[in-house]
Symmetry: C2
């Protein structure tokens, strides 16, 4: 499972405060603790006014790179900011994200073509999030055509099927699980990713819905997630689900993760 | 989801102690608390020497029925004890269990034929637990033939595919999930059940494996489980998974379960 650590995000009030106060230690701690907890990428999202976004991204990325070698996920609603932030990074990371919205792909794909950068691609376009599974698969097919144009191998893509909130869904998550299965069947080396918390919007005790969602999505083929790696219960379920899927021989990753204190109470 | 509350079992040391001391209040509390937590059946297993097992079952069943109307699951390795314990019950419950081992079916099915009693059937025979999915489906087919002989509708059967421990499995739980899907495809009204803790034998932090297992098994079609309904995290995941499967319109059961305090911290 590829863990994209989500905690350095200016949309989180404590992080916004740290950004405005230029609190170096706070940001470094967030980076280090997520890397130590097993994050494969450290997501960096400024969520500031666009006029200072790129400067803020640089400040954040520099701090992360001072404390960890874990690659960066450059995260912005602006494809231009993502493309520009790539050059602050010491090693290839992850662009978060493109979609068929506007010219995002035309801005990002040329920059990462011929590199080892990976890229999150959301299954939406200028009309928003497609309602049916078929429509999402059409968006997916177009994204794959564009990736092929730039010779970007499926193994460098993390497809986010965009999960809508459960409380207004008519079929639970069966459409999304179906889309995940189809994507992995077509491109076995591709990654399927997603956040684990939109799903539970407007519901009580959201953690249960988030956790059960991630386990079911992993069961269908999701192998990448944008989550908080410091959440030990979620991480325990992720390690357990990997083992249950048969992707962890003799449960060694599960057992070693436990010994390293990455999840659960170490008794 | 059908919850079979597992806590009144003489194999649990505190329950064995309560049985030997004839501690009436302890047993009543266990029955009441499981019923209040949403159990659909209260499992009663004496786990005593066979010479006193039936008397002990009667004592336990009488106590349970003093405090709750929730039906009983009569649980014994002996089919004769199960069949005999049925008559202590005020209303139809669940026999736990038969299999193709010995003459279990011949002892139990005639007794529950023409009643509303339900029955757990384990997918094993005199040779033990079949290794392959195909062999389990053969055992299943024979059980269904026997059920038909006695006119026992599939909706009265809870098939337990018998999950082996994960640490020695070569394909995780994919064989079991496959068996679950096939059973539900053949007989949509049948129930698929199981314990949630054998799977994690010999592993650390077993709760993560048990929880992820139950979510994945529910995703494949398991709709009955022999668990501790007082475990609020497990119950939260069960309610969440039901909603994610699209089996809980507008998440009303999830929301009401939360309001009733059946899972999670009530904030």
């Amino acid at each position: 499972m590829i863990i994209i650590g989500e905690k350095i995000n200016g949309a989180i009030p404590s992080v916004a405060e740290a950004i405005s106060q230029r609190d170096v230690e706070f940001i470094k701690d967030l980076a280090k603790s997520q890397a130590d907890a097993g994050a494969n990428f450290i997501d960096v999202c400024a969520s500031t006014d666009v006029s200072v976004e790129l400067d803020t991204m640089k400040w954040l990325i520099d701090l992360v790179q001072e404390v960890t070698d874990t690659p960066i996920a450059v995260d912005s609603p602006s494809a231009e900011i993502c493309a520009a932030a790539i050059k602050f990074c010491n090693k290839p990371g992850l662009v978060n994200s493109v979609s068929l919205e506007g010219n995002k792909i035309d801005v990002v794909f040329p920059v990462i073509a011929g590199t080892k950068w990976e890229c999150v691609a959301l299954l939406c376009d200028d009309t928003g999030i497609p309602k049916s599974g078929e429509q999402r698969m059409e968006v997916f097919a177009t994204i794959m055509e564009r990736a092929k144009e730039f010779n970007i191998d499926p193994s460098r893509l993390h497809i986010d099927p965009l999960v809508e909130m459960l409380c207004t869904s008519e079929d639970g998550i069966s459409t999304v699980l179906d889309v995940i299965r189809k994507i992995k069947a077509q491109y076995p080396r591709i990654h399927v990713t997603g956040g684990a918390s939109n799903i539970s919007f407007n519901l009580p005790a959201r953690k249960f819905v988030n956790q059960a969602f991630l386990v079911l999505a992993m069961g269908a083929g999701m192998d990448s997630a944008i989550i908080n790696p410091l959440h030990k219960h979620m991480m325990g379920l992720i390690y357990a689900t990997q083992a249950l899927k048969g992707d962890d021989e003799y449960c060694m990753e599960y057992i070693n993760g436990y010994r390293a204190g990455l999840y659960g109470p170490v008794k």
